[in-house]
Subunit: 243 residues, 2 copies
Amino acid sequence: MSLESVPPKYAQLVQALQRRIESGTYQPGSLLPSEHQLIAEFGVSRPTVVAALRVLREQGWIESQQGKGRFVRGRPAMAAVESNRRGQAYLTSPETDSPGELVEAGAVALPNRVATLLDTQPKSRAFLRRRLVTRDGEPTELVSLWLPLELSEGTDLTSGEPLPQGIREHLKARKGVRFDHIVEQITARMPTAGEAKQLGMPKNVPLLAVFGAVRDASGRPLVVVEVLLPADRHELEDAYPVT
Amino acid sequence: MSLESVPPKYAQLVQALQRRIESGTYQPGSLLPSEHQLIAEFGVSRPTVVAALRVLREQGWIESQQGKGRFVRGRPAMAAVESNRRGQAYLTSPETDSPGELVEAGAVALPNRVATLLDTQPKSRAFLRRRLVTRDGEPTELVSLWLPLELSEGTDLTSGEPLPQGIREHLKARKGVRFDHIVEQITARMPTAGEAKQLGMPKNVPLLAVFGAVRDASGRPLVVVEVLLPADRHELEDAYPVT
DNA sequence: ACCCGACAGGTTGTTTTACCAAGTTTGAGC
DNA sequence: GCTCAAACTTGGTAAAACAACCTGTCGGGT
């Protein structure tokens, strides 16, 4: 009676083949053993082998060609690029993890762009929570969070205290909403006098403005995050496959 | 004798179920018919049904719960957001599709950032091809393409003529290289005097600079694309799932 | 009357055996 | 040298069985 559940056979096969590719046993460009050979070596049936190879192909480790065989591509290089999405971190990790100070928390009239992203009438009101994040004691990013009023009620976001929990978990626990994906808009503009002062940046350096509209699986907007970054100190990096 | 190859049954099932979800026959949140019911209705075997449902789950249309059934999530909202990646279009569609003029084509010393992205020594030389893209007769974007010299030899990129073919196809046909993914860096800065003049923009408006390092499957950099956008006229949009 | 556990019948997840189709390579035979 | 069939490869379909999980119902016990 094993309390630990063993992974299914096809998943074990996936891991075994990944290890062999990473260790160089299977060189990139070479031909992988055929289905029949893998069946003989691992003692499993053909559908099991096929299931494992399908996973590897979908993850980009190998590619297959009908009639010829399956070729090793190597460890997918995309996985090595850590996607550095600014909005993500502030939604999942607790505010107490990133030092900073709360500069605003209360109901405000929505800017046009945020109203559009939230799918509400312009000038309607929503809850705004804005933090100035510091790194090494210096202010570096201005992070704003807009929530519809009905979503902010009954949460700890309206308090002036830093959240000891990720915003994503907090909203799921209190309001039952589930984040699914983010639509991101990136623009650049000159800082206002107030922003330049808060961020301690020269007035002739542009700001990178990242707007992230967080939506549920049906596409309904839940929250909008805005991250303002002085462009001389930050840049955004990301990776994606060529279609 | 059908010359057209019919799609496999599981793919037909995928399409049929997608249509029903989109048309509202299967409402989001509701329970999908069980495997047994789908087998009876479509007259296929269980592995075929399971294969179709696996595709739908991986694409985000449904989610499954062992012991209960499969629930409709709806058309994945991510698919509705057209990913608007600036670098992509210039790599795949022919230059003759986007009006503009070639402003530079020849070997130059690499800027530091591009040399880093191409994984070469700083100040080494590479081929630069720069185009000023116009929309509605107005200049809007400055697109630069850097290639290692050995990759530009024997291609039509060194000529002053617009390519009647996508760069991706051209390089694959002539040099046998295959684009796999792009590592993208986004920054903002003030335009130089020359850039402001070429783009016909005010000097106090920042530029969005998008650097895209195109790599093959092993992560080796092939080409670097730079797109310069006046920030008052363009913004970048993208969507990605919450992990 | 109420509670709780056993059990039956539903669901999806995993594995096996079997067969046919389609693409590629090889080599035997002409 | 050429043709073509055989033998390899992966892709797809069918039928069956077992395991794991959920949800009722039907008991028996308190």
